[in-house]
């Protein structure tokens, strides 16, 4: 079971439906691994419903009622039936939709001998949404962020100076934390990372790559 979770104020923004799409997708994916956060979200949703119930009603004319009544025989959009695509395997259904295949079918960009990245399209213009594949025991060169970074472990695990993280664990780092994650020795690690600014390698060996690490949002 996941040990690292989004803080409750972040979950509140998620439940209220106001997080940027890419970040929202990452939290939604964490919830699929985490019954506690699901439960916390359910309570936060109860709160939303109580606030909704207590709004001061704004009158709605009969014209609008009649418009809706006249439309009741319309066929519901197909998407209403798609809502419960069963997840195949262990990955959250939402991620599977964005990946359109399994890890081996994605197009990967090799960054170093032990790190490759695959960018997924979410349609969110402000955030990069990408899968990081780190070979067992491999290291992501020490880097820093100008923006925020959400990480969700999908497979295997990694560690950095602050701890070690396993399947389902969620991390949120604010700008300018420097870290150098290393995949666990036992197996390859695949993480989802959501960034709002490109990462920057700090060690001299990789610094030359920084100009190539443009944010690939969208």
């Amino acid at each position: 079971m996941a040990k690292f979770h989004p803080r409750v104020d972040l979950l509140t923004e998620y439940v209220a439906g106001i997080l940027p799409l890419a970040q929202s997708a990452c939290i939604s994916a964490h919830l699929n691994y985490c019954p506690q956060c699901q439960q916390q979200s359910a309570r936060l949703q109860d709160l939303g419903a109580v606030l909704f119930d207590s709004l001061t009603p704004v009158p709605v004319g009969d014209a609008l009622l009649n418009t809706v009544l006249a439309r009741l025989d319309e066929e519901p959009p197909l998407s209403y039936r798609r809502a419960q695509d069963p997840a195949v395997g262990r990955l959250p259904a939402l991620l599977q939709r964005l990946m359109k295949g399994d890890f081996s079918e994605l197009s990967w960009n090799k960054i170093t001998s032990s790190l490759r990245i695959s960018y997924l399209k979410t349609g969110d213009p402000g955030y990069e949404f990408a899968l990081y594949h780190i070979k067992a025991g491999g290291k992501i060169p020490e880097h820093t962020h100008r923006g925020s970074e959400m990480t969700l472990v999908l497979q295997g695990g990694f560690s950095d100076a602050a701890g070690s993280y396993h399947e389902g664990d969620f991390l949120f780092r604010e700008a300018s934390d420097t870290h150098a994650p290393t995949a666990l020795q036992s197996e390859d690690c695949i993480c989802l990372a959501v960034l709002d600014a490109p990462l920057r390698f700090t060690s001299w060996k990789y610094r030359w790559m920084n100009p190539f690490l443009q944010l690939r949002a969208g």
Binding site: Q36, A49, F52, S54, V60, K121
Partner: protein, 200 residues
């Protein structure tokens, strides 16, 4: 704004089995079972004004878009009525969730996002299925409702901005001229006071 209903008796909670018998849940069940348009009309007259208030809250949407949202949410409620499970949620929680998702989708449409995802896709794959999930939800709603009046106004104000006006914590902070950390800590304090904090 938060004070309309103080009698939790009007929620119609009943018995330890968790069976839900509030008026609007029954109404929705009837709509699903028989396609009853008179029942739908009653349902509309109750919820449409709340959805409109939700849409206009913090003038997040124009009047025309608010009407469009009311139409979309009520139509979706009709079309998805058979998916409503009164054991799992109260009708008003169910309607709130649809309204929230439709509003999020509308914001993204207005910003011309080109995305394969709709807000419905962000719901977790399995909903909590423990037998007590419903009972907990019922209790938490009652508790929240009872405790809402005890929240300091500055905390209640932030919750309204976040949930009803759809403002991020950063936007709320800018609007109220407060540090972001203050906004976040008010949210956390409110959640503790309302007794919905879960150990994780």
């Amino acid at each position: 704004m938060v004070e309309k209903r103080n009698d939790s008796a009007s929620d119609g909670w009943q018995g330890p089995t968790g069976r839900r018998t509030d008026e609007w849940s029954e109404c929705l069940t009837q709509i699903a079972a028989t396609g009853d348009r008179a029942a739908f009309t009653r349902f509309f007259r109750h919820f449409a004004p709340l959805i409109k208030a939700f849409a206009l809250s913090g003038s997040s949407l124009s009047a025309a878009h608010a009407d469009e949202l009311v139409q979309e949410v009520m139509l979706k409620a009709w079309q998805k009525a058979s998916a409503f499970n009164p054991e799992k949620a109260a009708a008003s929680t169910w309607v709130y969730t649809i309204a929230r998702n439709c509003r999020t989708d509308m914001f993204r449409r207005l910003q011309k996002f080109d995305t394969p995802l709709a807000a419905d896709d962000f719901m977790p794959d399995q909903e909590p299925s423990e037998p007590f999930a419903m009972l907990q939800s019922r209790r938490s709603r009652d508790t929240i409702h009872a405790l809402m009046g005890t929240l300091p106004p500055d905390q209640a104000q932030i919750l309204a901005k976040v949930y009803m006006e759809g403002k991020s914590h950063a936007e709320a902070a800018a609007e109220l001229d407060l540090p972001l950390g203050t906004v976040k800590s008010r949210v956390r304090l409110a959640i503790q006071k309302l007794q919905i904090q879960i150990d994780r």
